[in-house]
Symmetry: C2
Subunit: 389 residues, 2 copies
């Protein structure tokens, strides 16, 4: 096990009817900005529950945060924050809304340095966040884990730029699985696949004999493999236990715990980000295209963990090492297919002609040495994308 | 899954050399009371590392906290706290020292109510803790999980009395597995068994389809089964990876996570506490005596989970249900035997003549309806103790 520091103070309020707790979680004297997306929360009753819970609070609204939230949209929130002296953000939505709220919170109090105080520097120059408005989150789409971590990804001009700070980690999160019943199949499948690949990024590397971390990751992967398809199947999709297990898995997949003390990869994400940035493909769908190719191209570097993955997650015990690994990769692809996400660039109408642009973007964003060994060069990223054709 | 609220803000600093972080974790202007036990930390280098880390701090010492810390000992710390205006406690030791520090921290700022302000009421009358001194912990014995939870057990006149408050949860904990290399076999085995049974208390109940919680618990149990015996075997006992895996398992076993959203039992602990209180038997050794008997007597109520435990933790797939359950219980006992802890009252020279006193004590302490269904009456506790003869 590697040395680590781990702390996750986000208070989780999990279960049916928990949205009402926000009335107590947010101080009564706070001036709250309710931040949300395209308005789906008005159709599924979440908005009304939130408004009811805030009946004693002073609050304002900022809506229109899009999937892959853009810098330009998020900066528009600064006006109302200044005009109304907002001192608390309540994000109601999926990972994009929570990610967006994090940037809004950091930008609102950004002081900058001698070179200026443009909040854009938080993303472009990775300037440290030293203050941020407090954030609470009501999660409507289990996927990114953003509701209890300090990570955020913001898009500008087709470029996806991450930043991270413990100061933007939500103070509390409400996870009510009933809220997810109104999601589309596509949203559910994207969420399950996203959580699955978050787990894989922290697990499928090389062994440091972190037995607890490995088994926790394997437990999340198995849960998502079992429950994900049920959330799409007509007979079981309304089952609240299925939704609860998916929701809790997605939070645990990226709250810092399973990645503490073990190496991490994230090459699938970095390559995937360019697919979203350049071609607008849903985040999770870029990951399901890239991951199988990463597994194939990095088979030797990940051999030991691929074998463990084959045995423990897929119960593959027959055949020689290569056979077991190949079968595990094949079963991973089949799982993605069951979840109705693409596993090939051709599935989203991209071909070899598009790879140059993606490699160019990786170079532009400094993504020249990816993976747990920092040895996935641009040439190897090209090999991965070619494998994914 | 049941609704739940979960929050664990303790910052974990894990790994070799991490004791030095306390210099930064504790504010420089704090007046620190270093709290420890019988002085073993002076023999294994931990004391010196702590002193070195506190070289810029103002600190005082309070030692002599015993295993199963007593009220009388802990109340003695109040003098130095008042005399020196102590405003921060640093607990250096195992679960008893950390538990003790929690009571010291709560007693120091106890305000009481209209009926008085005797800190004894925190234990005797379960009076709520409304303030407490901040606590940091340097863990030397992985076992109780006290380093990152709000629980404490204090003994007075042979009675073990628990209290719990988020206000006494350590702000930070240092977990350096090298520190555990100086532990005796008995301390190691007690710690592994304690962590194992903490996990069982939150797992072996009835299913609420909490898939993440179940798999996390199973992962901890498997890790302890694999690593525990290695920490006793001459060829592997110095292996730091073994110690690290045990240490992290013990913390995760009782930091609130695996128990969130699932029913909990704790009957083994409640009955075990009386064995320690009445006969001075090590805490973990009371648990290893009581648990197999609980499994046998509560076989029907725990049937579904016992079958899952047999399959997933012990890989038992052959035989009918009763055979599989019996084998899982037998393997649990064998694991305890490998860990050199008793599994029978007769192993600690107790017999049927001693059961009356234990039942009397349970009655005295209000432990008349134990277990996840609150249906373990005193008669059933007697049956459990008789089964354990």
């Amino acid at each position: 096990m590697l040395n680590f520091n781990f702390q996750n103070p986000t208070k989780i309020n999990f279960g049916e009817g928990q949205i009402s707790v926000i009335s107590k979680e947010i101080p009564l004297d706070a001036r709250v900005l309710l931040v949300y997306g395209g308005g789906s929360i008005k159709g599924n009753g979440v908005y009304q529950q939130v408004i009811d819970a805030l009946s004693e609070h002073t609050f304002f609204e900022f809506s229109g945060i899009e999937p892959n939230p853009t810098y330009d949209t998020l900066m528009k929130a600064q006006e109302i924050i200044k005009a109304e002296n907002i001192d608390y953000l309540l994000a109601v939505g999926g990972g994009s809304v929570v990610d967006g709220a994090k940037f809004i919170a950091a930008a609102a109090l950004y002081e900058g340095n001698s070179e200026g105080n443009d909040p854009w520097d938080i993303l472009a120059k990775q300037q440290a966040v030293t203050k941020a408005l407090p954030i609470g989150a009501v999660l409507t789409l289990p996927a990114t884990g953003s509701e209890s971590n300090g990570n955020s990804v913001v898009t500008r001009d087709g470029n996806k730029l991450p930043f991270s700070s413990p100061l933007v980690r939500p103070l509390f999160a409400v996870l009510d699985p009933t809220v997810t019943l109104s999601l589309s199949d596509r949203q559910i499948s994207n969420g399950v696949v996203d959580a699955f690949i978050h787990t894989i990024e922290q697990y499928l590397t090389y062994s440091v004999n972190g037995k607890v971390q490995d088994r926790f990751s394997e437990g999340l992967l198995q849960t998502l493999i079992e429950e994900g398809p049920k959330a799409l199947a007509p007979a079981t999709k309304e089952n609240l236990e299925v939704r609860a297990n998916i929701m809790w898995s997605a939070t645990m997949a990226l709250n810092g715990l399973i990645g503490a003390g073990v190496p991490q990869d994230w090459s699938t994400h970095m390559i995937g980000h360019e697919l979203t940035g350049a071609f607008g493909i849903d985040h999770a769908r870029t990951l399901s295209i890239v991951l199988p190719a990463v597994m194939k191209v990095r088979k030797e570097q990940k051999r030991e963990k691929l074998l463990q993955y084959a045995t423990r997650v897929w119960q593959i015990t027959e055949g020689d090492e290569n056979t077991r690994i190949d079968q595990a990769i094949r079963l991973t692809e089949e799982f993605f297919e069951t979840m109705q996400v693409p596993t090939r660039l051709s599935d989203v109408d991209l071909g070899s002609k598009d790879i140059d642009l993606l490699i160019e973007r990786l170079a532009q964003h400094g993504m020249t040495t990816l993976g747990e060994h920092s040895d996935i060069t641009l040439d190897i990223s090209r090999e991965i994308l070619t494998q994914a054709l």
